[in-house]
Structures are given as C-alpha cells and as structure tokens.
Symmetry: C2
C-alpha cells in the first residue's frame, strides 16, 4: 500500500511536469513529435492513451497510420500528413523506425535499400529538429517471455492477445533486439536518440517511466534550441540564366502543328501512366509573367480531368505557416497514376522567401539539401519529377506587364506586387541561379526553357513532359 501510493504520487508529479512542458511548447511556439516505438504495440497504444490523459488533450493528436497507408507514395508520406503545428503535439504509434526494424527482421529490407531508408530517417528527424520541433522517442521493449505469456493467456479471453504479432516476437528475440538497437543508432538524427523503456513492467509503472523519459527529453529540447549554423552558400558561376539569351521563336503555323501532335501525345501518355499507376509531378517556376499559367493550360489540354490536379502556390495559410514549409507540398504528393502540376512550388523557400527575407539565412541555406532530399524520396517510389524553369528577359517582362494593364481581359493578373518584385530582378536572378545549380539532381533535373516567345515555351514544356513520361513508360 505504501509503494502504491508512492507510485501514485510520482505519477501525479509527472502529470504536472508534462502539463508544464506542454505549456512551454505553446509559449515557445514549438511543435513536438513523441514517437512510441518498440516490440509491444499494446504498451504503445496504452501509453498513447495515458499521455492523452496527462496532456491537455485539445492540442494532442495521435498519428497511427495503417500499414498500407499511402501505398505507392513515399514511406514517410503518412507521417508528414500528421506533423504538428507550432505549439502542438503529435503522438506517433507505428513509427518509422519500428516499421523499418520489422521489415529488416523479416528480411524484406536490407543492403543498400536499408541504408537508404536509415539515411532518409536521419534526414527527416534532423529536418524537424532544425525547424524547432522537439523529436522525442521512446522504445518500449518487452521480453519475449512476457509477450508469449500474454499470447497464451489470450487464448481464453482474447483480451489482449491481438496485439502480439509474429513481428513483435521477432523483434523481442535476442537477434531482433540487437538488430533494433543497431537500427535505432543508425536511423536517428543527430542528438535525437531513442530512450529504451522496459515494456514488461506493470502498466502504471511502465507509463511512469516512459512519461519521465518524455518529460526529460522535452526539457532538454527546450533548453538546447537547435544551434544551426547559418552556412550561406558559396558563390556560384553566374550567367546560367542570362546566357539563355538566345530567344527561339515559333510561328503560328508551326505552333498549331506541334500542338496538334503533342497534346494528344501527352493525353495518351497520361492515360498509360494512369493504367500503370505511375505518378508524375511537374513543377513550373519562373519570373512573373513568364507564361507559367498559359503553359500549364496547354499541358493539361487533352488530359482526362480525373487524372490531374493543378496546384497554385499562394501565400501560405495559417495552418501551413505553423508547420515546416514542405508540409503543404507533402500533402499534395500525387497518388499512383496521377499527375500533379505545381504553379510555383517548394522552391519559394529559396526564391521569394530568401529574397524578401521571409526565411532566415540559415533556413533557406539548409533548404537546398531538404528539397533535394524531398525530391529523392519522390523519385525513389518511381515517381517522375519534371522541373521547368521558364526564363524571361527583363525587357519582355516589362512589355507583358504593360500589355496586361492595357487589356481588360488580363488586368486582373497585375498587382502592385509585380512591379515591386521587378525592382529585385537581380536578386531574383541570383537566387534562381543558385537554386538551379544546387537542386539540379540526376533524379530530378532542371529544364530551362526560353520564355520570351510564348509559343516556343509552351511547345518546349509539352515536349519536356512528354519526354520524361515516355522515357519511363517505353
């Protein structure tokens, strides 16, 4: 009885510590991801429930993707959906490391694929931490003996036996424990270790231990705010875009002939992609008035409306602002067979946010690697990623601005922003050249299109997308 009440007192004190930690998250405007992994899904589920009771439940959400969630999309996709806004908490059950260890223990994942997976997990955790999110991880390890006992007892009652699976038993064996330990080390971001808690103990005691580990880690994370070094990128060879100064043109007749050939061709290719489950992402970037919108409408002209979606990229909503800048793009990763066209995109981080100072130097400087990583995750699943920069000369932009102002059909496209942006032409050009140099990768190369002649640009965009799709489909 004395022990019991000591336990209750400790739990009560922990409850207050967790509430205080949660308040601090709100004050500091930081999100927290609490990962509950291990070989005991009942323990993880119960712990998630207990934490929801201890925390103020209104700002806590449980992320427990089913095994088939996001089929055909990158492995991390279901987790990205649930990343917490600033000041909020996401509890992850069925986490990335447990799933990876399970697949490795089943011998479904090894060698280069396993190494690539672990690298992607490190990058993911570090990206969250760099953005100010606390990443706290608890590994619940229950001895094989206890799991087997629970299974035996369940034969009569079926009360808790359901949560012991072959996968759990595999991870609970000596070899599985060793494997998981190795993967926990290799799959963790820098300074983001797993804390092992015995899952075998009595529920209230186990939740106390896990809760204390979480409270400690939350405190630590708060004290040492990610000290990210602001590495500004070094200087790059200039003139990449200016030298695209030859302006190929296309006459009306040639344009009509090409369009009559290319649009049906892209229509056929996207139908084939839909049948085969091939997903495609097309990104259009370029100065204001470069003709991105017009190119997009021609791209989609003969595609079945059920197969594609065009995403404009306006200023972020409050929900988007409260999360990592990549969150709103992860949410739009196309399902198998679909085509997503982005009219401007995640590159805003290293373009407008850099030029306007919306992102700090450290933030946009590390974004190149984050973006390459994001695109690598997409490419890994077999997705086609086409990135088009539609280039424009400064003179042609001015001509188009003036034409827009004079046309009642186009006047709505002009805002005061446009002339303001134009004043930063050189800054934007520099940012674009850095961006192209730093994010031109084999799996997602940049294609620069001369945009001074609209007909030429539209045909070139169609050709580029056709080529990328036919390379994959033939």
């Amino acid at each position: 009885m004395a022990t019991r009440s000591a336990l209750e007192r400790a739990r009560s004190a922990l409850h207050l510590r967790l509430l205080a930690a949660q308040r601090r998250l709100t004050t500091e405007q930081r999100g927290a991801v609490l990962v509950l992994g291990g070989n005991d899904r009942l323990a993880a589920s119960e712990l998630a429930n207990q934490l929801t009771e201890w925390f103020d439940a209104r700002t806590v959400r449980i992320c427990a993707p089913t095994e088939d969630a996001g089929a055909g999309r990158p492995f991390l996709w279901p987790y990205w959906q649930e990343m917490p806004a600033k000041g909020r908490i996401t509890l992850v059950v069925g986490d990335w490391l447990t799933r990876t260890a399970t697949a490795a223990a089943r011998e479904e994942l090894d060698g280069d694929a396993l190494r690539a997976r672990l690298k992607s997990l490190r990058a993911f955790e570090e990206l969250l931490a760099a953005d100010g999110t606390s990443v706290v991880k608890v590994w619940l390890e229950t001895p094989e003996k206890s799991l087997r006992k629970r299974l035996r007892e369940a034969e009569d009652t079926d009360a808790e036996g359901w949560v012991v699976t072959d996968d759990d038993l595999r991870l609970a064996k000596k070899a599985g424990q060793n494997l998981a330990r190795t993967l926990r080390t290799q799959g963790s971001g820098k300074n983001l270790p797993w804390k092992v808690v015995s899952g075998g103990a009595e529920t209230k005691l186990r939740d106390l231990h896990a809760g204390l580990a979480i409270a400690d880690q939350l405190n630590l994370a708060s004290r040492r705010r990610a000290a990210v070094v602001a590495k500004k990128p070094g200087s790059r060879p200039r003139g990449l875009l200016e030298s695209a100064a030859a302006h190929p043109t296309l006459d009306k007749k040639g344009y009509s002939q090409q369009m009559a050939k290319l649009q049906p061709r892209l229509g056929r290719l996207t139908r084939l992609a839909a049948q085969k489950g091939l997903a495609t992402i097309v990104v259009l970037e370029g100065p204001d008035a470069a003709g991105k919108g017009g190119a997009i409408r021609r791209l989609c002209g003969m595609i079945d409306a059920a197969h594609y979606q065009v995403y404009p990229t306006p200023a972020p909503t409050p929900a988007e602002k409260a999360r990592h800048y990549l969150w709103r793009f992860w949410n739009k990763v196309p399902a198998p067979g679909h085509l997503a066209v982005f009219d401007r995109s995640w590159f805003g981080r290293v373009m407008v946010e850099r030029v306007e100072g919306f992102a700090q130097d450290a933030e946009w400087a590390r974004a190149y690697a984050e973006i390459n990583d994001f695109e690598a995750r997409l490419a890994e699943t077999g997705m086609v990623v086409v990135k088009l920069w539609i280039n424009l000369s400064k003179e042609e932009q001015l001509r188009r601005f003036q034409a827009r102002e004079e046309s009642p059909h186009k006047r709505h496209k002009m805002t005061a922003e446009d002339y303001r942006n134009r004043k930063k032409w050189d800054d934007n050009l520099r940012a674009a050249e850095d961006m192209i140099a730093r994010t031109d990768t084999p799996h997602a190369p940049w294609i620069v299109i001369s945009g001074d002649d609209k007909r030429h640009a539209r045909v070139a965009a169609l050709k580029a997308v056709c080529r990328a799709l036919s390379d994959r489909l033939d």
Copy 2:
C-alpha cells in the same frame, strides 16, 4: 472570315462577363459550383480547361473525382471535399447527376435506391444554395452519331477516341437522352435547373454557348439571393433532459469489473469491424464538464490506435468558416473499418451557434433537416452512427468547475468561457432539448446518459457503443 471574327468578338465579350461575375463572387463573398455534365467527357474536359483560362485561374479549382473515389463512403463525399470557399469557384467534371444517370442507364440503380439518390441530390444542391453558393449546371449533349464518328476516327490516331465510352453512348441514345432528361428534373434542387448545351458544335462555338449559359446563371443567382424563410421551430415538450434527474451511480468495484469486461469487448468489436470494413461514428455532446473527454479516453482504451481517430471540435479555422458548416465534418467521415469519435460535432450549429447568435435564425432552423440528411447519407452506406448526450445537473457542473480550479492537474481545462456559458444554462438546455427531439432518427438515435456520476457515465457510454457495434456485427 466574317463569322470567325464575330465568334471571336463574342468570346472576348464573354470573357469579360465571366471575369466580372467572378469579381462579384468575391465582393459578395459567395462560392460557386459550376457543374459540367452530360454524355461527352471530352467536351466537359475541354470546357473546364477553357473556363480556367477565362476566369482568373487562381481561385478556380477542378473537382474531377475518379469513379472509385471515396469507396465505402457516401456517394457525395468526394464532392464535399472540394466545395469552394466563399469567393471561389469549383468546376465539377464527372458530376453527381451524370454518374447517377450512367448508373441508371446501366440498370445498376433503380426503384427506391434511385429515388433516394435523387432526393439526396436535391437536398445537397438546396443546402449549397441556401448557404449562398451559386449552383450552376450545364449539360453537354452530343448526338450519338458524332460520338460514333469520333470513335471511328480515333482508330487511326487515338487522339480523342479515349473519351467516348459505352456509358457515353448509352446516354446519347434516344432512350438514354430521355432518361437523363427525367433525372435532371427529378434530381435538381428547387430553382436550380440544368441548362442543356449542344456538345456537338465546333469547340469554340460550344464553349461560347456553355459560357454564356454559365454567365447568365451566375448573374441570376447573384440577383436572387436565396430567400430562405426563417422558420423557427415550434415549441416542444420540455423537461426531456431535466427529467433525467435520477442520478444512477456506480461504486469503484462495480466500475472496475465493468471496465475489465467492456473495454476488451469494444477492442474485439472494433477489430472485427476493421476486418469487415464497417465504419463507425461516435458523437459525444453535453454541457461543459460533463465528462466527455474522460468517457472518450475509456472508450478508446483498448482499441488499436490505427483503427480510430478522436476529433475535438474547436472554433472553426478560417478555411472552415469560409464553407458550409458541415464541410469540416464531411472531411472527417471515416474510411471503411475505421472509428471516428467526435468530441462535440456538427450539432454545434444548433447549440452554441444558436445560443450565441453566431448563426442566424434561418440558418440554425434549417440545420436540423440538413443534419438529419447528413446522418442519413452516412447510415445509407452501412455506417454505425452513435450519438451520446451526457447529461449533467447544474449543481454538479458547479462542483466540477470548482474542483477543476482547485486542482493543478485540471486547472488548464477552465477558461473564462465556462462561467459565461453557464449563465446561459437554460438557453443551452432548451437548445439541447430541441436538438434531441428534432434529430433523433431511426438510423441515428440519441442516447441520453446521466453524467452526474462519472463512473456510471463511462460505463454507459461503453455499453452504448458496444451494443451499436454488436447489433451490426452479429
């Protein structure tokens, strides 16, 4: 050449009219749903593309759900996802009436099922219109001969033949045309007729005709703002909730015994539901401090974290405020096999929004029928809908408020709001009684639980959900 330029002039004038109509939507803060139906999917797709070009594309979105979108969820679910915010436009391709006509022509939908479908479509369109959304519908009808010609020509080029399917041909036959005409009449909300446009004409001319029809309808909708009569509900017998004044209690031992039986039972039932693809919605309503959160945590105590999601219902976000109040709940309709628990819900429309005056009389007065309709759509798909009202006496609420204030573990649950709401106890009670009387339906009945004793309430909530699930699963 003269005709050509007359066509171009007419299109140019239409372009300006559409831009003006779009600006008016923004000014009047009204959304618009433009439905492009008919037997010619190529024409609908091309028209959608052309409209995107005519309108300012930044606030236009195409909704073209695939045929299997939202499998297992209500028929209207994919459309709800894409309903426009105030001031925005959604173009629907592959709409509800075309799909219904297709299913009827295939003889997959008839009799009572067809009548129920048409009724649900009328209710849906009227709900949108009553909320200030313009619902504009164009039916593109291409003669069977033209479709067959397109198919023949496509044998060589495959250019456009892909969009002619057996379904299209079926609707293009005389019988199909007659059927579609009947369904368009029976499946349209009041004053929300389809406008038929010949899909056979040359593309530019056809888009002109369709665009003119749309511009006319948008103007009409703007002039006659839904004149909804504010029918306040009549008086109802009172005392429904006050008479629940007997306060059953449960001692600690009885409680433990019941929980040890009921939690594993609900765990088993939800696992079975997951296997069978049965979706469940549980709604908890009741006064502040009634114990909804505590009951929810006990409900979920032994459910696999991957099978359920708890949704709190805070004040709506800007995106939610800009749409019909049911939108954010349609978005959370669970997938087959999943359980969604709502901590407060759509009933806020007839509770807090009524009592605080956030909704006008006409708005909350029509919400009862809208809610019953929403729940009928859920029940139709076979979903289990459990609605729990946890009742509380005014005295017990005060005791709990005071206990919360004195407890460092619970203080965070109290806000100034709570005492403010308490002052409106009688208004809230009256609203709750109206709500229960008006939304207690055979497919989604209310269950009133006495909440003065927390142990009793938790056990009663568990029992109610277990019963609803076992009724369906046995």
